[in-house]
Amino acid sequence: MTTVTKQTNQFSSQAPSASGLWRFLRVFLGRKVVIFGTVIILGLIITAIFAPQLAPHDPYQQNLRSALQQPSEQHLLGTDQLGRDILSRIIYGARVSLTVGFVSVGIGSLLGMTLGLLSGFFGGFIDSLIMRLIDAIMAIPPLLLALALGAAMGGGLQNVMISLGIALIPGYARLMRGQVLTVKQMDYVKAGEVIGSSDFRIMLRHILPNCMSPLIVLVTLNLGVAILAEAGLSFLGLGISPPGAAWGAMVSDGYRYLLNNPLLSFAPGICIMLVVLAFNLVGDGLRDALDPRLRGTL
């Protein structure tokens, strides 16, 4: 078969699949703001992990004599009303924010994606059932859910994470369902059926990997949202209980001292703002880099 050898020798010298990664990085890091966002997030992660090493003081150490001090060499951002070092509290606060962010988004995305996948794939009765469940979840305001859970099971971070997680489920479920409905139409899914794949195999091997791009973007965006929500909830007194350091709680506590010691509220507030902004920028960058670059037709 001379046709065979001719064909293979003339395969154009395109680089192997590493080019996909290269192209992704090139687009993702192509915009300066995205690099800015990535740096901030990396900074946040490092701060959270190495908090004990980075914080100059013990965040819980009260010292009423040096309360409400302005920034100095000792306390770079000053002290709060109980004499605690603001900078250290902010550094430890990063841990809370990150934990809440990742856990609640983790719960929301895993449950939401599973529901969306089943709903979109099977359609019919299962689809209706799951979608009505999602509607029910969406009907409950997350704040109310957090309050209810707080009242029923006591306050604390755990319940904040659960209620946020539940509140995030509908977003993932609907997005995943929409993606599944589109991907289901593709010929390669039909091909999977024709060669005899089981439903499970088709879902996991053919449908799921091709739905992930927008969901990954949603995860990064939701991380910012979750952190902001936690800040809001702890501002309202739900969430972490004192003396725990959380950014939202710090903003709330510092509210009374805004005139003379604005840093009590502003410092954690600016951190919240930067982190949420960073996640949004990274989410944008991911969306540009993933969509439609890595889709089948290039």
Binding site: Q7, T8, S12, S17, K190, V194, I195, P209
Partner: protein
């Protein structure tokens, strides 16, 4: 003589992903008043971009016109800025365009009348009232019935063929001197294509408008064009009158194209000669002839020198090639049939036919019906049934190829999907391997699936973009536990790759790294993996370039010989079906209207629809085309929701009688093996 349009040495670049592609690389052509000229080439050759560059419609961030002149009625258009008033006057006013995709080229929120009137008011400065009258005239001219009422309809209320006619009406509305049809009929059915091209031809004749047809279909070119330009990799490689080029092609690419295309009048068993290799990479800056890697006639000179310039062969016939290819070195024909070959293949045919009918039935479809429910309203209540397949009966014998042809909406793809149980048939039986698989539960069906496989039409959507080629091909092995261990699995995957002409070392690459033809080979390898006995080929080559189609057809034939496969070959390209099939069935609106062996169908068609279908297919040979009869059907394919009573074809049938609207004809045998569903025949 001054030409109406003369393009001189046009050069257009596109910058994509950091690479600069010379999409149009020094193209020159001209067209005179009242002429029909065709620019021919495959995807990526630069034929469309040349036209768009001429009117400066290319998107200028990635694209850029970097050289040349476009002289229209004595004025160089490239001197004007792209968004200047002069250019806007020319576009639509002097040069009209008809694009490929009728579904997306009309604005869905404006009525058809509004869109035409807009153009008239803009260019001819008519009053609204006058413009409306003219619009009705135009719609009538392109053959839309009830023009006065339909002018206020929206685009979605028209079919594809009608939308294309409206596009033509819009393009003609301002009496342009030149009409450019860029693959205007590629997305349409054969019979609709024939209607549209006749409309264009009549308009040219009556209004002396010039027509420039951009296409890859050599049949259309042979039937309609007076002169041709053949393009490859951004340059014109051959030009001349249609008859010159078809009777004495000089450039190896043109010769390759003509040899690779199946014809309605070739002898059976005639082997298509594909063009080796892959389409050119436009970012490649090498100065040599771009066709070099694929050229069977190349010499030392081609390797040393740069792209050859267009040299005169004779009269108006030019070719860009160093090699002087004499006619007698070619072993194919144009305008005459090689009689000895024909006689030999006739004997082989009859032996083959006898052998086939002696074999056993491997797949039988009885009384197949397929309905899709239609839901409306807030409560999604079922309103009606879309009856896609009304009553289909056929059988396929072991080792043969049954071709299934029909236009869009006839239900042939639905038949394929019912057989593969991608749909659950509403009624009917599908008998395979001694069992009726039509209603078999999925778990019982699974082991049987090994034996019937499907090759899909679209090589781009039929492969999972996140799965490597080797994994795609080997998946059936894993599902059915056909390999005892990993070594055996890898060996079998490598064997499958080689069988379809792919290098096994490419098994870790992903689909987007392969070309369309290679992707289709992966699809074929996947279908072969479970060692099937029947393969349903659902338009396996329609999405591929002409030069690659021949490669795949030859591959399918080879595999059939080697492995004893049975094919159900579904296509709308009648020449390809004739080439590859033993028997052919013709479908119309969910029923089979004629089924017989290939010879009887193509040489002695009995059903009026079959006759019209065959006459609508252009043959890539201008001498033959001159002498053919044309049967142009009235009207369009009716919607499935408004099935005509009695014989579904009667409203368009040139020989319909009164009884045809009353009774549904059944498929009955007229002569040995030849069944027709027509009251006029039986």
């Amino acid at each position: 003589m001054t030409h109406l349009l003369e393009v001189k040495n046009l050069k257009t670049q596109f910058k994509i992903d950091g690479k600069v592609m010379q999409v149009v690389n020094g193209v020159s052509y001209y067209i005179n008043e009242g002429e029909i000229v065709s620019v021919v080439g495959e995807s990526g050759c630069g034929k469309s971009v040349s036209q768009l560059s001429g009117v400066q419609l290319i998107p200028t961030p990635p694209g850029k016109i970097v050289g040349g002149e476009v002289i229209f009625e004595g004025v160089d258009l490239l001197k004007f800025k792209a968004d200047s008033e002069q250019m806007r006057d020319i576009r639509g006013g002097k040069i009209g365009f008809v694009f490929q995709e009728p579904m997306t080229s009309l604005n869905p929120v404006l009525t058809v009348g509004q869109q035409i009137v807009e153009s008239l008011i803009l260019h001819l400065r008519m009053t609204k009232a006058d413009a409306r009258i003219r619009a009705v005239e135009l719609i009538k001219m392109v053959g839309i019935p009830d023009a006065k009422q339909r002018i206020d309809d929206y685009p979605h209320q028209f079919s594809g063929g009608m939308r294309q006619r409206i596009m033509i009406a819009m393009a003609l509305s301002c009496n342009p001197k030149l009409l450019i049809a860029d693959e205007a009929t590629t997305a349409l059915d054969v019979t609709t294509q024939a209607q549209i091209l006749e409309v264009l031809k009549n308009i040219v004749a009556t209004t002396n408008t010039s027509l420039l047809i951009v296409t890859h279909n050599l049949g259309i070119v042979a039937r309609y064009a007076q002169r041709i330009y053949v393009m490859y990799a951004g340059r014109v490689v051959e030009s001349g009158t249609t008859k010159d080029i078809f009777s004495e092609p000089r450039h190896p690419y043109t010769i390759g194209l003509l040899k690779a295309v199946p014809r309605l009048d070739e002898p059976k068993g005639h082997k298509l000669v594909p063009i080796d290799g892959l389409p050119p990479d436009l970012a490649d800056k090498s100065p040599n002839c771009a066709f070099l890697p694929r050229c069977p006639y190349r010499t030392e000179k081609c390797l040393e020198d740069t792209w050859p310039e267009l040299k005169q062969v004779e009269g108006r016939h030019y070719a860009a090639c160093y090699v002087n290819i004499q006619r007698k070195r070619l072993n194919f024909y144009v305008g005459e049939v090689d009689k000895t070959k024909h006689a030999l293949s006739k004997t082989l045919d009859s032996i083959e036919q006898q052998a086939i009918s002696a074999r056993s039935k491997i797949l039988e479809v009885k009384n197949l019906k397929m309905n899709f429910p239609m839901y409306k309203g807030i409560l999604r209540s079922k309103v009606a049934d879309l009856k896609v397949i009304e009553d289909v009966n056929f059988e396929i014998n072991k080792g043969e190829t049954l071709g299934l042809v029909g236009e869009s909406g006839c239900g042939k793809t639905t038949v394929a999907r019912c057989i593969l149980r991608l749909y659950n048939p509403t009624e009917g039986q599908i008998i395979f391997a001694g069992q009726d698989i039509a209603q078999l539960p999925k778990n019982t069906l699974r082991p049987l699936r090994r034996k019937i496989q499907l090759i899909f039409q679209d090589p781009y959507s039929s492969l999972n973009p996140r799965q490597s080629a080797g994994s795609i091909v080997g998946e059936p092995l894993k599902i059915h536990n056909l390999a005892k261990n990993n070594i055996e699995y890898q060996e079998r995957v490598a064997e499958l790759f080689k069988m379809v002409g792919l290098d096994p070392s490419m098994k870790d690459r992903f689909p987007h790294e392969f070309s369309g033809g290679q992707r289709q080979r992966i699809g074929i390898a996947r279908a072969l993996a479970s060692d099937p006995s029947v393969i349903v080929c659902d338009e396996p080559i329609s999405a591929l370039d002409v030069s690659i189609q021949a490669q795949i057809i030859n591959l399918l034939e080879e595999l059939q010989d080697k492995l004893g496969l049975t094919y159900l070959f579904i296509a709308h390209d009648l020449s390809v079906v004739r080439h590859i099939s033993n028997r052919v069935a013709v479908m119309y609106l969910g029923r089979i209207v004629e089924i017989t062996d290939w010879k009887s169908l193509y040489e002695n068609p009995l059903h009026p629809y079959t006759k019209a279908l065959l006459s609508a297919v252009p043959i890539p040979d201008p001498f033959v085309e001159e002498q053919r009869d044309r049967i142009i059907l009235r009207g369009e394919v009716p919607s499935l929701l408004n099935r005509p009573s009695g014989c579904n074809f009667h409203p368009r049938c040139p020989v319909a009688k009164k009884e045809c609207s009353l009774n549904v004809p059944s498929l009955s045998e007229v002569s040995a093996g030849h069944k027709v569903a027509c009251l006029g025949v039986t």
